[in-house]
C-alpha cells in the first residue's frame, strides 16, 4: 500500500451554542494519511487544535462502523460526503486529493437545531417513532416465532426498509428538509410484515402527523434522499408510504 498523504484546507462550521451566531473557520491540515477515515482526520485536527490552546470541533460519532447513525456532516455540500451508501465514519481520505478545500457543515434543517459546531438535535425522529413506529406487543405475549410464516421475499423488502439507521441524511440532503424517507422506512417495514397489520392505519396517520408537526418539509420526489442514504433505503418506500397514507385516510376506522 502506498503511504500517500494529503495537505488539506478544512472550512469548518463553528458555532458556540444553539443561540450563538455561527460561521466558517479555515484550518490547514497537512500530512493526512489516505488510509484515515474522515472522522480520524477530524480527530487529528482536534488534537492539533487542543495542543494550540484552541477548542476542538464538536461532532457526533459513536460506533464508527456505519450502523449507529450518530455521525452526520455535510461534506462539500453532500450528506455523509461523496460516496454512495456510506456514512461519514466509513468515508476514507483516499477519496480526496491533496490541495483540496473540504467544507464541513452540520445537517441544515429547522427541525434539527444546531447544538454546537457540527452537532445537531435529532430528537424529532424519536418523537416520530413514538407516534406509531412500533408494534404494540407487550413482553410475554408473543406466539411461537414460526406460527406466522413470512415469505422470504417479503421479509427481504421489510429488511431493506428496516436497515434505516436514523441518521437524518435524507432530511439534510432534501431541499425541503423532508423526512419522508425516514418515515417511509418504518411504515414500509411494518406494513409489509404480518405483525404490523393491526395498527397499520393508525401508524401511518400518527407518524405523518408528527412529521408535519415537527416542521419537516413536504416531499417533491427529487430523490436526493435516496442518493444520500447510507443504508441505501429506496424511494419506493416513499411510494408505499403515500399509498398507505391514502388508504388509511379513506378506509381507516377512526
Amino acid at each position: 500500500m502506498s503511504s500517500d498523504t494529503l495537505n488539506l484546507t478544512l472550512r469548518v462550521w463553528r458555532q458556540a451554542g444553539p443561540d450563538k451566531p455561527g460561521g466558517f473557520c479555515d484550518y490547514q491540515l497537512d500530512g493526512v494519511s489516505t488510509h484515515m477515515s474522515f472522522l480520524e482526520m477530524l480527530d487529528v485536527l482536534n488534537e492539533k487544535l487542543i495542543a494550540a490552546g484552541d477548542e476542538p470541533v464538536a461532532f457526533d460519532h459513536d460506533c464508527r462502523e456505519g450502523i449507529c447513525g450518530m455521525c452526520s456532516l455535510m461534506i462539500n455540500g453532500q450528506a455523509h460526503g461523496p460516496d454512495r451508501g456510506t456514512t461519514t465514519c466509513q468515508l476514507h481520505m483516499r477519496r480526496f486529493a491533496s490541495g483540496e478545500t473540504i467544507t464541513i457543515e452540520p445537517w441544515r434543517a429547522t427541525p434539527f437545531p444546531v447544538v454546537r459546531d457540527l452537532v445537531v438535535n435529532r430528537s424529532a425522529f424519536d418523537r416520530i417513532i413514538q407516534s406509531g413506529g412500533f408494534v404494540s406487543v407487550n413482553t410475554g405475549n408473543a406466539p411461537d416465532g414460526n406460527s406466522v410464516p413470512v415469505p422470504g421475499n417479503r421479509q427481504e423488502v421489510a429488511m431493506d426498509a428496516a436497515a434505516c439507521i436514523g441518521c437524518g441524511a435524507c432530511v439534510a440532503a432534501c431541499k425541503n428538509a423532508s423526512a419522508m424517507l425516514f418515515v417511509s422506512a418504518k411504515v414500509s417495514q411494518l406494513s409489509i410484515l404480518p405483525q404490523g397489520q393491526p395498527e397499520r392505519s393508525a401508524r401511518v396517520l400518527g407518524m405523518v402527523a408528527q412529521m408535519d408537526k415537527e416542521g419537516f418539509g413536504s416531499c417533491t420526489n427529487t430523490s436526493e434522499c435516496e442518493a444520500a442514504c447510507p443504508a441505501e433505503v429506496s424511494v419506493s418506500h416513499i411510494a408505499r408510504l403515500n399509498r398507505e397514507y391514502m388508504k388509511a385516510l379513506v378506509f381507516a376506522d377512526r
Binding site: 494519511s33 464538536a58 459513536d62 466509513q90 413514538q130 413506529g133 414460526n146
Partner: protein
C-alpha cells in the same frame, strides 16, 4: 497487592433441580399489585439491548421509569453494531438442539467459570426472546416457505443462530427501542438522552438515584428512584483500540464500584479473532468482521515464512489452514479465545501477512467457487462492503486480512441470581454484569443475554425487591443527593483546572497500549507486575498534566472523554490485579505460565473455581477480594476440547 475477605458471597441461587430453579423462584418472588406499580420509580441507565428492553418491559408493567443514555437517541447504543446473530435452542433445523445443549455449550464455552443456574435460565428464556422479537416486527432471515432461518456460529456444532443479514444487533435493538418509544408515548417511561451518569446515590446502604450531566448544556441533574438498573455495557475501551463504539466506557460501573458495588472478574476480556487489522497510529477504533464469516471463510497463513506472493498465487499445499489443522472437528468455527490465540501463535512465529505481519487471511475463494458470488453476497454483503470501504480491497477477489481485537468483556459488576449487585436496589444487566459468560463468551450469545436480562428476568426480580423495600421517597435535595452532586461537580472542576500539556486522547492511547501489551491476549506474572506501577504513574501524570479545554456549562466532548479516561485509569489497575491474582489460564484470560503442552489454556479448578469480586478501598489502595465459589452440580468441568 490485595486482601482476601473471609466471607463467601451468596449468589442466592435457589435450591432444587436445575430445570426447575427459575420456575420455582418466580413463584417465590414477591409481587407488586398492578395498581401499586405506578407508585414505584425505577431508573434505567443505558438503552442498549438490556436497558432498552428493561425500560420498555418495566414501563409495560406499569412502573414509573426514567431511562438515560449518553447518545442523542436511545436507538444508537452499541448493541446496534452486533452483526452475526442471536442464539436460541428452538431446534427448528431438527439438528438435535435442546435447552440443555445450549446451556452445556455456553457453560463449556465459558471455560467453566460461569454460574450454572444463570446460564441455564438464559438458555430457557432464549426461545421467548425470538418469539418476542418476531412479534415486534424484527425481520429475521426466513426460508422460502416463510419459516425462520438459522445458521451456525462458533463453539457449536449445530445451527441455532437467528439473524437479520449482518445487522442482527441493529434490528433487535430497534425492536427494543420501538417498544421503549411506545412506553415513552404512554408517559410511563421518561426518556433522558444525552445524559451521562456521573455518580450513584446511595441512601441507607441502598441505591436510590443517580447524578447525571446533561451533555448538551453541561447542567448536573439529580434523579432519585426506588431502584437503579445499570445497563451500561462493557469496558473494552480500556484498551483504547477495540471494536466498541467510541463512547463506550466504564464510568457508570466504576462510579457504582466506588460506592460499594463489587466488580467481578475484570480480567475476563474477549479478544475477537476476526477484526480488520490496525493500519496506522491515528487509528481510532477497530472494526469487527462478524464471526458468521467463519461459516464460509477459511483462515490461513502461508506455510513458508516471508512468502510475500499475492495470496491467490499461493497454492493450497503451501497454505496452512491452521484452525482446520489444529481443531479438525470445529475447524474455522473454534471459539473466539482459541481462534485468537491461534492467530497470535502464527503471527508471533513470523507467519503473519500484510505490511505489519500482524494479520492472517480469511479466504472466501472456496465458498464463492462452491455457492457463487451471489449467495455469498446475500449472506455477508454488508460486511464485505464495509471491509472494502475501510481497506480499499475487494474481498470477493482477494482474501480479507484479519487480526484479533478487543471486543467484549465478560467481567462486570457482581450480581446475584436476581441480577442485583451487593448494593440493595442496584441491578446490573447485560454486558455490564459478569454472570453468564464465564471466562469466554460464545458468538451470538451477547444479544441473547442482554435481552434475556431485560425482557425476562428483571421484570420479575425487581418486583420482589420493590415489594419489600419500605424506604419512602428520597428528596432530590436530601443530604446524600447533595453530597453526590458535589462530588461530581468537584471532579469536573478538577479536570478543567489541571490545564497541563497532554490531550485526553494521548493518555488514553498510552493506557490502551500498555493494557494491550501486558494485559491483552497473553499475560505473564512479570509483565503484570511491571504494568501496575506504570498504570499508577500514568494516572498520576494524567491528573497533573492533562489539558481539558473549554468549560463545563456547554457541550464539551473533551470533558466527557476526560471523565471516562480518568475512570479507566483506576479501573485498569484492578483489571491487572485480577489478572495477576488468577494463577491459571481460562477462556480469554491466558497466563503464559499456565498452558498445556500444545499451548491450550490450563485451568486450575482446585484453586480458582470461583468468581473474584473486588471491593473498592480507595484509588491506589489494595482492593479486597470476595469470593463466590462456583458449584457445578450438573456439568463436570473438564478440559475444553474442540479438536
Amino acid at each position: 497487592m490485595f486482601r482476601v475477605a473471609s466471607d463467601t458471597l451468596n449468589s442466592r441461587v435457589p435450591a432444587g433441580p436445575l430445570e426447575q430453579k427459575w420456575d420455582k423462584h418466580r413463584f417465590n418472588l414477591k409481587l407488586v399489585n398492578p395498581a401499586n406499580k405506578r407508585k414505584y420509580s425505577v431508573i434505567v441507565v443505558g438503552t442498549g439491548l438490556a436497558g432498552g428492553s428493561a425500560a420498555a418491559s418495566l414501563g409495560e408493567l406499569g412502573y414509573s421509569v426514567k431511562a438515560f443514555c449518553f447518545q442523542d437517541s436511545p436507538r444508537r447504543a452499541h448493541s446496534i453494531a452486533a452483526q452475526g446473530g442471536i442464539n436460541a435452542a428452538k431446534n427448528y433445523p431438527n439438528d438435535g438442539d435442546s435447552i440443555w445443549r445450549l446451556f452445556y455449550d455456553t457453560i463449556k464455552g465459558g471455560d467453566y467459570r460461569a454460574r450454572e443456574a444463570n446460564v441455564y435460565r438464559l438458555a430457557q428464556v432464549a426461545n421467548n426472546i425470538i418469539d418476542q422479537c418476531v412479534a415486534q416486527g424484527v425481520p429475521f432471515a426466513r426460508e422460502y416457505g416463510g419459516t425462520l432461518a438459522n445458521r451456525s456460529f462458533g463453539g457449536a456444532q449445530l445451527s441455532r443462530t437467528f439473524y437479520c443479514r449482518g445487522q442482527t444487533g441493529q434490528q433487535l435493538l430497534l425492536g427494543a427501542y420501538q417498544a421503549l418509544m411506545r412506553q415513552v408515548s404512554t408517559g410511563r417511561v421518561k426518556m433522558f438522552a444525552r445524559r451521562e451518569m456521573l455518580e450513584l446515590i446511595v441512601s441507607n446502604g441502598a441505591a436510590r438515584g443517580i447524578v447525571v450531566r446533561n451533555l448538551e448544556n453541561g447542567k448536573l441533574e439529580v434523579h432519585t428512584a426506588d431502584a437503579v438498573v445499570l445497563c451500561t455495557g462493557g469496558y473494552g475501551n480500556v484498551y483504547y483500540l477495540s471494536t466498541n463504539a467510541k463512547g463506550c466506557n466504564v464510568t457508570a460501573s466504576w462510579r457504582c464500584h466506588r460506592r460499594g458495588a463489587y466488580f467481578a472478574n475484570p480480567c475476563y476480556t474477549q479478544i475477537h479473532p476476526t477484526c480488520i487489522p490496525v493500519s496506522g497510529d491515528y487509528q481510532s477504533k477497530l472494526t469487527l468482521m462478524s464471526e458468521s464469516l467463519r461459516n464460509d471463510g477459511r483462515v490461513w497463513v502461508p506455510k513458508n515464512k516471508g512468502d510475500h506472493r499475492a495470496p491467490g498465487q499461493i497454492p493450497d499445499e503451501e497454505r496452512d489452514y491452521y484452525l482446520e489443522r489444529r481443531y479438525p472437528s470445529f475447524g474455522n468455527l473454534a471459539p473466539r479465545d482459541i481462534s485468537s490465540r491461534a492467530a497470535k501463535e502464527r503471527t508471533d512465529a513470523g507467519y503473519g501477512v500484510g505490511e505489519s505481519g500482524l494479520a492472517v487471511f480469511l479466504d472466501f475463494r472456496d465458498a464463492i467457487a462452491r455457492d457463487g458470488e451471489d449467495v455469498v453476497r446475500k449472506k455477508y454483503g454488508n460486511l464485505f462492503h464495509m471491509y472494502e470501504k475501510i481497506t480499499a480491497e475487494n474481498p470477493y477477489k482477494v482474501p480479507m486480512r484479519i487480526y484479533p481485537a478487543v471486543h467484549y468483556t465478560m467481567g462486570g459488576l457482581w450480581v446475584d441470581y436476581n441480577l442485583m449487585s451487593n448494593l440493595p436496589g442496584l441491578y446490573v444487566l447485560g454486558e455490564a454484569n459478569f454472570s453468564d459468560h464465564g471466562a469466554n463468551r460464545l458468538g451470538a450469545s451477547a444479544l441473547m443475554q442482554g435481552l434475556s436480562d431485560g425482557y425476562f428476568v428483571i421484570p420479575y426480580t425487581i418486583g420482589d425487591y420493590l415489594a419489600g423495600a419500605k424506604h419512602g421517597k428520597l428528596a432530590e435535595d436530601a443530604p446524600e443527593c447533595r453530597a453526590a452532586l458535589q462530588d461530581a461537580e468537584a471532579r469536573i472542576t478538577k479536570l478543567l483546572s489541571v490545564n497541563g500539556r497532554r490531550t485526553v486522547d494521548s493518555f488514553h492511547r498510552e493506557l490502551g497500549l500498555l493494557m494491550w501489551d501486558y494485559c491483552g491476549m497473553a499475560r505473564t506474572k512479570s509483565g503484570l507486575e511491571a504494568t501496575i506501577p506504570r498504570i499508577r504513574a500514568l494516572r498520576e501524570e494524567f491528573w497533573t498534566n492533562v489539558r481539558v479545554p473549554g468549560e463545563s456549562g456547554t457541550l464539551n466532548q473533551s470533558l466527557e472523554k476526560a471523565g471516562r479516561v480518568a475512570d479507566f485509569m483506576e479501573f485498569a489497575e484492578l483489571l491487572a490485579v485480577d489478572a495477576l491474582h488468577r494463577n491459571e489460564s481460562c477462556g480469554g484470560h491466558f497466563r503464559e505460565e499456565y498452558q498445556t503442552e500444545d499451548g491450550e489454556a490450563a485451568r486450575d479448578d482446585e484453586n480458582y473455581s470461583y468468581v473474584a469480586a473486588w471491593e473498592f478501598q480507595g484509588a491506589g489502595n489494595e482492593p479486597v477480594l470476595h469470593r463466590e465459589p462456583l458449584v457445578f452440580e450438573n456439568v463436570k468441568p473438564s478440559t475444553r476440547s474442540y479438536k
